[in-house]
Structure formats: C-alpha cells, structure tokens
C-alpha cells in the first residue's frame, strides 16, 4: 500500500504558512474593520483549515470519494448554519404594518428611510 509520501519541505512550508496565518489573524483583529472583522477572521481560519486538510491530512492525494466526503461535511454544515439563519436574519423584516416578528428584531444598520416604520432590512 503506497500512500503518498510528501517531502519534508512541503510540511515545513505548510507549517510556516499556518504560523503566518495565525500572526495575521491576531494582527488584523486589532484593526477596526467595522463589521468585516468577523468575516476576515473566518476567512483566514478557513484558509488555514484547508491547508491542514489538503497537506497534513493528505486529502490532496486521496481518492475522489474522500474528497467528496470532506465536501459533504462542509456542505451540511453550511445547510445547518444557512437555513437556520434564514429564520434569524429575516425576523426583522416587516411582517405587518408597524411590527416585526419578535423582540427588537427590527434592527438595521443603514440610515432610516424617510417613511418611519417601514421595517428593517437586516440584522446588525
């Protein structure tokens, strides 16, 4: 059974990239990007995780079936988060004149429209 044997240099390179990624994510956290801090942090984490999966876990050299399973896991994770958030992110939308669906959900980040009570568009 001949598994793929990566050269040591690959592992050192991935390790270096992960450490740099850690440094960047800490540094960026201290820069005020407004509401973009969260997505940037997640983006860096996803990149780091991808490196670990591809090289340390040899997914890059694995069968198509293994790759499919890795994709499946993340697809259903997105389903869990995404479909739940269809509820939470649309609760602030107007359901009837002057009301939103739940406690203080009618919050939005942009300036209010001229017409009061026109309902919010999104959460924070």
């Amino acid at each position: 059974m001949a598994g793929h044997i990566s050269p040591k240099s690959t592992y050192y390179a991935v390790f270096a990239a992960l450490m740099v990624g850690t440094a960047i994510t800490v540094a960026v956290a201290f820069v005020n990007l407004g509401s973009f801090n969260f997505p940037v942090a997640i983006g860096i984490a996803i990149t780091k995780a991808t490196l670990v999966i591809l090289f340390f876990m040899h997914a890059k050299y694995s069968s198509r079936l293994t790759k499919l399973f890795v994709g499946t896991a993340f697809f259903f994770l997105v389903v869990l988060l995404g479909l739940s958030l269809t509820d939470y992110l649309s609760r602030g939308l107007k359901t009837y004149p002057g009301g939103a669906a739940g406690a203080g959900y009618g919050v939005r980040t942009e300036a209010p429209a001229a017409e009061p009570r026109s309902g919010g568009a999104a959460e924070h």
Binding site: L65, T72, A73, F76, V79, L80, L83, S84, T86, D87, Y88, S90, R91, L93, T95, A101, G102
Partner: protein
C-alpha cells in the same frame, strides 16, 4: 448462481457453531449482533407499547380518572422516547441491516466487526440509562425536550434521559459509519452499484443521515444537560437566549431521523415486492436515487415543525416549499412499487400481505403530510391530534409495517424455520384494521381542534377517542399474535430451506441459517438485481 454446497446434517450454522453465553456477548458476527439488537428492540417495543396502552385507556374518558396528570405526561414522554430512539431508529438498520447487509453484499462480515459489537454495547448502555430514568421516577418533557420547560421547569429525570439519548446516538453513528464503509469497500466481485439490491441503497442513504444528523442531536442534548445540570445558559430566555434555537437544533436531527426510520423499511419493501411479484423492480435507478434524494433533501426541511413556534414567516415560506420538494421522491417510490406489480406473478405469501398493508398505510401517512406542510392549514393543525395521527401513520404504519414485512421475508433465513403463513396473514389484517381504527379518528380529532398531549379533554371529543382506544386494543392483539407465532416457529416451524421464496439476492444463495462466515465460497455476481426473467433477453 447457486453456490450452496450440500452439507451433511446437522449443518454448522452461525447459531449452533458455538453455544456459550460468552460466544454471544463477545461475538463479532454481524448475524448474531443483529439478533442481539432484535432482543433489546423487541423489549423496548413492548415497553413502549405498554405505555401506549395506558395512554389509550386513560383517554377512553374525558376525565383524568385512571392516572394522574403527571403520570400521564410521563407515559407519553416515555412512550415517545422508547419508541423513537430504541425501536424505530434501530429496528430495520440495526436488526435487519446487520443481518442481511453483508449477506446481500457477499461479504464475510461488516467492515469493522468489533466496532459493530461496541455499537451494540453503547446502545444497551444508552437504553439502560433511559430505563433507569424511567424507573427512578420517569421524565415528563415530551420526547422533544423543548426548552425552557426541560431546562428549568420540569423536576423529572431529564438529564439521565438526555444522556441515554446522547449515548445511543453514538451507537447509531457508528452503525451508520460501519455500514457505509462496508458498502463502499466490501462488495463481492461483480457487484457494481447498480446491481445492488435496493435494500442496500436504502441502508446507504440511512447511514448518511445517521452520520450527518445524529451528532447534532448529541450536541443539543449535551447543551441541554449542561444547561439543566450546571446552569449554563445557551437557550435560556432570562439571559437573552433563544428557546427557538433549541428547536432548530433538535429538528435538524429529528426531522431527518424520520428518514432513518422510514428509508430502511422502504428498502425492505422494495425487496419484498420484487420477490413476490417475481419481477424486476420498476424503475430501479429511480427507486435507488430517490432514497439518496430523500436523505439529502430531508436535511433541508426541519423548520416545518416550527411554523407557529415564532420563526420568521419568510423562513417558514422557504421550509414549506422545500418540504414539498422532499415529498416527490417518496411519491416516486410508491408509484414504482405499484407499477412493479403490473404483470407480475404475484405470490400472496405473508410478507407480501404485510408489504401491501404497508403501502396502504404509508400512502395515508405521506399524503397527510401535504396538510401539515401547507402553511395556512398547519397553523390550525400544528400540535393537534392530526399531527399525532400523521406521524403514527408514517412511523408505525410505514416504518413498523415495513419492518414486519422485512422480518417475515428474512425470518426463514435468520432462523431456518418457517412460521405459520396463515397466522401471519391474519395478524397482518388485524394490525391493518386495528391501526386504521386507532389513528383514523385522530385525524378528525385534530381537525376539530383537540391538542396533543392532553390528559383531560372536552367531552365532545369522547366518541372519537373511544373509537381510537378500541382500535388500539385490536392493534395490541395483532402485535401479540405476531410475537406468538414467530416464537412458536422456532420450536414447531418447518425447516424453511435455503430459498423458500425462490428469490434472487446473494443472501438466498447461502444456507438457512447461514454459515458462521456467511458463504462457503466467495460469491461472484454476474447480473442485475431481481433478474427473475434472467434467461430472456434483457430489454429496457
């Protein structure tokens, strides 16, 4: 492909090659493990049935005159927990799947036999936890464990029950994992994906749901346990938490769990209908892929349990639409089963009678789902007896009837004995009639407004409730009858022979009961499943 070897009597079988208790408790043989699941699940089934009996007796009158309100609440909770987690979810995958799957694949065992045994022990430990919770005072949250009632208000054994469910979940995950690897890596030479029996496709799809869904219920019950036990706050509205989040997480598993219950029986039904129509299944690839489609789409519809729970109405719209999408593959399966019977040579033996009864009840169960998926109607029907009737038609009329069809079909292979065909048919008819009488009136009860989980109810609902209770007593007779003649067959049943149904499929090519390692020689597959008319030229 007759690979059976003539063996001098008494034959060596998986049942008689070892006799000690240890040879059972430490077995790595998938067939023996299947039987061990059968024992525990049957016990849980009659335990849950006992709770149901008391529930129906109590509801025969509008007043709460048989048991107290607290006792009643515990009864329906424990009925739900026992039936859902310890009967419906393990019944077909863990019993029939364990026994039949490696045989159908032409494998010597599942991929990880020790893991398989470990799964059984985990299952039993989880069950013991739950039984302990029941014996030590019971639990009264409903099997849905909604917060904040379960985390703050109830003063019953929520944590112990939750841990029982948590532990059992790992058994389910590991079984699914084991089967999935087995199907990928242990198929006999020549057994390509599109030659697989449809039962294998169903088990594969089920395993996918078990692997993807069960961890979410595990983390949900764990979060509930720490919230209740250590006073953490994750769903606690007092701290600003959202009780509805619990429902999202709970149903992310518990809706697909319905497909863990119903997909494997659907697979068994495909086997039975093809075998007793002596015909290739109609639209093989459509039936096969509809299993996968149900498994995947099943994860996209969970919030249809929450249309009046305070979710956004736009989200409700999305989930209602997706729910209709998942209805289609189930409909496709049903139509294909009916079409399979067209110009078949239909042999009306007991398994086929159970399968036809399944078709009738599953049809009603599936179609009434169209009501509860319809937003405008569900606002009225939600949490009424209509829902109770609907899911019993799916879970009992569908899953349990399908399980019985499969059990009757493979019983001669499992035990080597044939039960009484006539009694089996009588039992099927009794169960069918009793079932309809029990749950049919509940549709009307729900529509006229009787909420579920009611210990006492307004007197105008009594007549329908009495009908339902009467039906339940008929149903109970039917189930006890099944237990009697199946047990009797072990002692008085005729030798079944290796292939009493003249069916295709590798499991029928070995002896009954099978050899300890399944096959005398490695089977090789050269044709599609269900090739009854194999000598004729294949035309599609």
């Amino acid at each position: 492909m007759d690979t059976t070897m003539p063996v001098a009597a008494p034959r060596v079988t998986y049942l008689n090659h070892e006799h000690t208790v240890a040879s059972w408790l430490l077995t790595k043989d998938h067939k023996r493990i299947g039987i061990m699941y059968l024992m525990v699940v049957t016990f849980a089934f009659f335990l849950g049935g006992l709770f149901a009996t008391v529930i129906r007796l109590e509801l025969a009158t509008p007043a709460g005159d048989l048991v107290s309100a607290d006792t009643y609440n515990k009864l329906f909770t424990m009925h739900g927990v026992a039936m859902v987690f310890f009967v419906l979810i393990p019944a077909v995958p863990a019993i029939l799947g364990n026994f039949v799957l490696p045989l159908q694949l032409g494998a010597k065992d599942v991929a990880f036999p020790k893991l398989n045994l470990l799964s059984w022990y985990i299952f039993v430990i989880g069950f013991l936890f739950t039984v302990y919770a029941m014996v030590a005072g019971g639990v009264d949250t409903g099997w849905t464990f909604y917060t904040p009632y379960s985390s703050r208000a109830s003063n019953t054994n929520v944590v112990a029950t939750g841990l029982g469910v948590f532990i059992t979940g790992f058994s389910s995950i590991l079984t699914g994992l084991n089967f999935m690897v087995t199907i990928h890596r242990m198929r006999a030479p020549g057994l390509t994906w599109f030659r697989l029996p449809l039962f294998v496709w169903a088990i594969y799809s089920t395993s996918l749901v078990q692997i993807l869904g069960t961890p979410v219920i595990a983390i949900t019950t764990l979060a509930l346990a720490v919230e209740r036990f250590l006073h953490f706050g994750i769903f606690d509205p007092v701290l600003g938490g959202d009780p509805v989040l619990f429902q999202h997480m709970f149903w992310f598993y518990s809706h697909p769990a319905v497909y863990i219950m119903i997909l494997p029986p659907m697979g068994a039904i495909s086997e039975v209908i093809a075998a007793f129509s002596r015909k290739s299944i109609f639209g093989y690839s459509f039936v096969a892929f509809s299993s996968l489609a149900i498994a995947i789409f099943g994860f996209l519809v969970w919030a249809h349990h929450m249309f009046v729970s305070g979710i956004s109405i736009y989200s409700a719209l999305v989930f209602s639409f997706l729910t209709y999408a998942v209805a289609i593959p189930s409909a496709v399966k049903t139509f294909n089963w009916a079409a399979t019977m067209y110009r078949g040579a239909i042999w009306l033996k007991a398994p086929m009678i159970w399968a036809i009864a399944f078709l009738g009840l599953f049809l009603v169960g599936g179609l009434t789902g169209l009501f509860t998926a319809a937003l405008g109607v569900d606002v009225h029907l939600h949490d009424t007896y209509f829902v109770v009737a609907h899911f019993h038609f799916i879970m009992v009329g569908g899953a349990i009837m399908g399980y019985f069809a499969g059990l009757h079909y493979w019983w001669p292979k499992i035990t080597g004995r044939m039960y009484s065909d006539i009694w089996a048919k009588v039992a099927a008819i009794i169960v069918f009639v009793g079932f309809n009488l029990t749950f049919g009136p509940q549709f009307i009860l729900g529509y006229v407004g009787m909420p579920r989980r009611y210990h006492v109810y307004p007197p105008e609902f009594q007549v329908l409730n009495v009908l339902s209770s009467a039906g339940a007593s008929i149903l109970a007779v039917g189930y006890v009858l099944v237990a009697i003649y199946l047990v009797a067959s072990l002692f008085y049943g005729e030798e079944a022979g290796d292939n009493p149904w003249h069916a295709t499929g590798l499991e029928w090519t070995t002896q009954s009961p099978p050899l300890p390692h399944n096959f005398a020689t490695q089977p090789v597959v050269t044709e599609d499943a269900y090739e009854y008319s194999q000598r004729e030229i294949k035309v599609v």
